[in-house]
C-alpha cells in the first residue's frame, strides 16, 4: 500500500504543478501543458512498450510521430482540385513501380544461384527500375506541384474527419515499423538503434522535400479540428452567457473551453491505451514478452520465435507513437516538417521513459507529464534565475548574452535530470514490479 501512496503522490505532485501554473501564470498555459503532457504520456507509453517490455532500443520516435502528423494531412485536409487527375495516379503508379523494383531485386537475390549473373541481373533490375520509377514519378510530381503552388501544390487529403487520422497515423507508423523491423531485427545481430535513427531522419527529409505529399517546408496550415473554433464560440450568445456566468470574458472562456475539449479527447485515448497496455502486460503475451527479455536463450529453447515477438512489440510501440503524433498535429492545427528535431521528439521521450520508470506503464505516463512540464517551465524559470543573478550587473553585453542563453537551460536541465535519476534511482520514479 505504501507504494500505492507514493505513486499517487507523484501523480498528485504533477497535478499540483500544473494547477500552480494555472494560478500563477494562466490557465491557458496550464491547459496547454496538460494537453501536450497527455500526448507526451502516450509517446512515452509507446517507447516504454518497446524498451521496457522488450529491450528494443528505438531512437527514431521522431519519425513515427511525424508519420502520424502526415496522416492528419492525408486524411483530413480537403482534396486538391484536379490533383489526382493531373498526376496523382502517376505518383502512385511510380511508387508501386519503385516497390516492385525492390521486390523483384530481392526475389532475384533469393531465388537465383549465387554468382556474377545474379549480381548483374539485380543491378539491371535496380537501374532500369529506378529510371522507370523516376520517369513516371517525376512527371506526376511536377504536374501535381504545379497546381496552385501558393496554397496547395500537393495531392491533398480525403476530407474525412480528423479524428479518423489518429488511428490512421498509427497504421502508417505501424507499416513503416514493419519494414524497419523486418530488416533490422532480421539481421543476425540486431541493428535497430541505427536503423531507427536513420529512418527517422529519412522520414523527415521526405516530409520536407516531397511537396506533392504535404507541401514540404511550405507547411500545411489550418487543419480541420475535432473541436469548435474559438471565434465561433465567441459569436455564440449561449456560450457568452454561460462564460459570463463563470465570471469570464468570452475570449478567455473560449480558449479554455477548446483546450478542455482537447484534453478530454486526449485523456480518453490515453486511458484506453494505458488500459490496453496494462492488460497486455499482465496477459500471457506480456508475460512471455518479459520472459524473452529476461532470458532470451531459455525462451528460444522453449520454442518461442523471439524475432517475431520483437517485431510485434516494435510495431505496436511505433503505432502508439504514430497515434500520438497525429494527435499532436491535430492540436497544433498545422504540419510543419521543419520543427521535427530528434532532441525534442526522440530523446526527450526517452528521458520521460527512463525518469518515469522503464517497464512500468504508469511510470512512463508520469514521466511524460513531469518531463513535459519541466521542458516548458524550465525556460521561464531559467530566465527568472538569470535575471535575478544578473540583476546587479547593469545592462551590458554579457548580461544580454546570459539572458538570451537562458533559453537553452532546458536542454541542460533535461540532461541533468536524466543523469540524476539514472544515478540515484536507476529504475525510475515508479519502478517496474
Amino acid at each position: 500500500m505504501n507504494e500505492m501512496v507514493k505513486n499517487t503522490g507523484l501523480f498528485a505532485l504533477v497535478a499540483v504543478l500544473i494547477v500552480i501554473t494555472g494560478i500563477s501564470q494562466s490557465w491557458n498555459t496550464a491547459l496547454l501543458i496538460l494537453n501536450m503532457g497527455l500526448i507526451s504520456a502516450i509517446m512515452a507509453l509507446g517507447v516504454n512498450l518497446q524498451w521496457g517490455f522488450a529491450g528494443l532500443f528505438n531512437v527514431g520516435v521522431m519519425g513515427f510521430v511525424a508519420l502520424g502528423g502526415l496522416a492528419t494531412v492525408l486524411i483530413a485536409t480537403p482534396p486538391t482540385q484536379g490533383a489526382w487527375g493531373a498526376g496523382g495516379y502517376a505518383i502512385v503508379l511510380g511508387l508501386i513501380m519503385g516497390a516492385a523494383t525492390i521486390t523483384a531485386a530481392v526475389l532475384v537475390y533469393q531465388r537465383m544461384a549465387k554468382g556474377r549473373l545474379r549480381v548483374f541481373t539485380m543491378l539491371a533490375i535496380l537501374i532500369v527500375g529506378f529510371y522507370l520509377f523516376r520517369a513516371v514519378f517525376d512527371s506526376g510530381v511536377s504536374t501535381v506541384e504545379a497546381i496552385n503552388p501558393a496554397s496547395a501544390g500537393n495531392i491533398g487529403g480525403l476530407g474525412l474527419p480528423i479524428l479518423l487520422a489518429w488511428p490512421v497515423g498509427g497504421l502508417l507508423a505501424a507499416g513503416v515499423a514493419w519494414i524497419i523491423g523486418k530488416v533490422a531485427l532480421g539481421l543476425r545481430s540486431d541493428y535497430l538503434a541505427i536503423a531507427t535513427l536513420g529512418i527517422a531522419e529519412i522520414i523527415i527529409a521526405v516530409l520536407k522535400n516531397e511537396d506533392w505529399l504535404a507541401r514540404g517546408v511550405k507547411n500545411v496550415i489550418g487543419l480541420p479540428r475535432p473541436v469548435p473554433f474559438e471565434v465561433d464560440l465567441q459569436r455564440d450568445p449561449q456560450f457568452v452567457e454561460r462564460a459570463a456566468g463563470f465570471g469570464m470574458d468570452p475570449v478567455t472562456a473560449s480558449t479554455i473551453y477548446v483546450k478542455l475539449e482537447y484534453a478530454a479527447l486526449f485523456a480518453v485515448v490515453l486511458i484506453i491505451l494505458l488500459w490496453l497496455a496494462q492488460k497486455a502486460l499482465n496477459s500471457p503475451w506480456g508475460r512471455m514478452m518479459r520472459a524473452i527479455r529476461d532470458n532470451e536463450v531459455a525462451a528460444e529453447a522453449m520454442g518461442k520465435d523471439v524475432t517475431r515477438r520483437h517485431l510485434q512489440i516494435f510495431i505496436l510501440g511505433s503505432a502508439i507513437c504514430g497515434v500520438a503524433g497525429a494527435m499532436m498535429t491535430t492540436l497544433d492545427g498545422q504540419l510543419t516538417p521543419g520543427t521535427y528535431q530528434p532532441l525534442r521528439f526522440t530523446f526527450l521521450v526517452w528521458v520521460m521513459v527512463i525518469v518515469g520508470g522503464s517497464g512500468n506503464n504508469f511510470g512512463a505516463v508520469l514521466g511524460g507529464f513531469l518531463i513535459w512540464f519541466l521542458w516548458v517551465q524550465v525556460e521561464p524559470m531559467g530566465l527568472w534565475l538569470m535575471s535575478t543573478i544578473t540583476s546587479g550587473m547593469g545592462d551590458g553585453a554579457l548580461r544580454s548574452h546570459l539572458m538570451d542563453s537562458a533559453a537553452h537551460m532546458r536542454l541542460f536541465t533535461m540532461g541533468l535530470i536524466l543523469l540524476l535519476v539514472l544515478r540515484f534511482s536507476p529504475r525510475g520514479l515508479i519502478p517496474e514490479k
Binding site: D190, L192, A193, I194, N295
Partner: protein, 276 residues
C-alpha cells in the same frame, strides 16, 4: 538477463550498433586492495579454509584448503561442478572469500585484488579468454610483462625457448593460432611476469590428446625451472601422474588430499574419480 542490480539489466538488448558485448570485464570482489600482513611459516602458497562464492550468491566453497610448496606441482581434481576452478579463483582473489585466508610466501594476501596478487608474484592462466586474440603473439607476451619496468627481453627469449612455435608465429594475431598454440601463448603470457607461482585453470581443456600430452610435458618443463605450479585438471589420471600433490574436491569441500601417487593408488579415489 535481469538481476538485482539495475545497472546490470540490459533488458535483453542485443543491439550491436550501440552496445559492444565483446571483451567486457566481469565484476571482481574488490576494486581496492586491503592490507598485507606477515604470516611466516606454512606452505609457499595456501588457500586456507576458504569459504565463499560469487558476488552476493550462495557459498560454493566450504572450508576448502589448497596449497602448493616450492618446486612442486599440485593439482586440483574432482567431478564436474565440484568447485575446482572456483577454488583456484578464490586463491587468486576473483571471488569473495568470506572466511579463511590466502597466504603467499609468508604473507597474508587475502585482502589484495587480483592485479596486486600478480604484482606479488602470482601468475594466472584462466580457462577461457586467456589470450588477447587481436594482438600478435609477441604483443601478448609484451602485455604479460606490462607490470615490469625492467628489460624483459631475456624472459621473452626464455618463453620462446620453451615454446619454439611461438617464436615462429610471433607476428601473427594470437586468435589465428590453433587451440594448443593458444594455450602456449596463454602460459607464456603468464610467465612474462617471472611469477613466483603459476596457476593454470584446465590448461588442456578442449585440446586433442596428443596436444594434451605435449602441454603436460611443457608444464613439467616449467616446473623444472623452479616455479611451483597449481593446476586444475579435468583429466584426473594424467594430472595426478605428474602431480606431487593432489586435492580431490567434491561439492566445494576437500574430499581427499595426498600425494599424486597415493591418490592414484587409493581404491576409493580410483573407483569414484578415475573410472576404476
Amino acid at each position: 538477463m535481469s538481476s538485482s542490480n539495475p545497472y546490470q539489466d540490459d533488458r535483453g538488448n542485443k543491439d550491436r550498433s550501440i552496445a559492444n558485448p565483446a571483451g567486457q570485464g566481469s565484476p571482481m570482489p574488490r576494486s581496492k586492495s586491503g592490507k598485507v600482513s606477515s604470516a611466516p611459516g606454512g606452505p609457499f602458497l595456501i588457500g586456507e579454509n576458504m569459504t565463499g562464492g560469487y558476488g552476493k550468491g550462495p557459498d560454493i566453497l566450504h572450508d576448502c584448503t589448497i596449497s602448493v610448496e616450492r618446486g612442486e606441482i599440485a593439482v586440483i581434481v574432482g567431478p564436474n561442478g565440484a568447485g575446482k576452478s572456483t577454488a583456484m579463483k578464490a586463491v587468486f582473489g576473483m571471488l569473495e572469500v568470506r572466511s579463511g585466508r590466502v597466504l603467499l610466501d609468508g604473507e597474508d594476501i587475502t585482502q589484495l585484488t587480483p592485479q596486486d596478487r600478480v604484482v606479488k608474484g602470482m601468475g594466472f592462466v584462466p580457462q577461457t579468454s586467456n589470450i588477447f586474440t587481436s594482438l600478435t603473439v609477441e604483443e601478448n607476451l609484451e602485455m604479460g610483462a606490462f607490470i615490469r619496468t625492467d628489460d624483459f627481453r631475456d624472459t621473452m627469449a626464455q618463453v620462446y625457448d620453451l615454446f619454439p612455435i611461438l617464436k615462429e608465429k610471433r607476428r601473427q594475431p594470437a586468435g589465428e593460432l590453433s587451440g594448443g598454440q593458444r594455450q602456449q601463448v596463454a602460459v607464456g603470457r603468464a610467465l612474462m611476469t617471472k611469477p613466483k607461482v603459476l596457476m593454470l585453470d584446465e590448461p588442456t581443456a578442449g585440446v586433442s590428446p596428443i596436444v594434451m600430452d605435449e602441454l603436460f610435458d611443457r608444464i613439467i618443463e616449467v616446473a623444472r625451472t623452479g616455479i611451483p605450479i597449481l593446476m586444475v585438471e579435468q583429466n584426473a589420471r594424467q594430472a595426478l601422474e605428474i602431480a606431487d600433490k593432489g586435492f580431490v574436491l567434491v561439492q566445494g569441500r576437500n574430499a581427499f588430499t595426498d600425494t599424486g601417487k597415493a591418490l592414484m593408488a587409493d581404491p576409493e579415489v580410483r573407483r569414484s574419480f578415475l573410472g576404476g
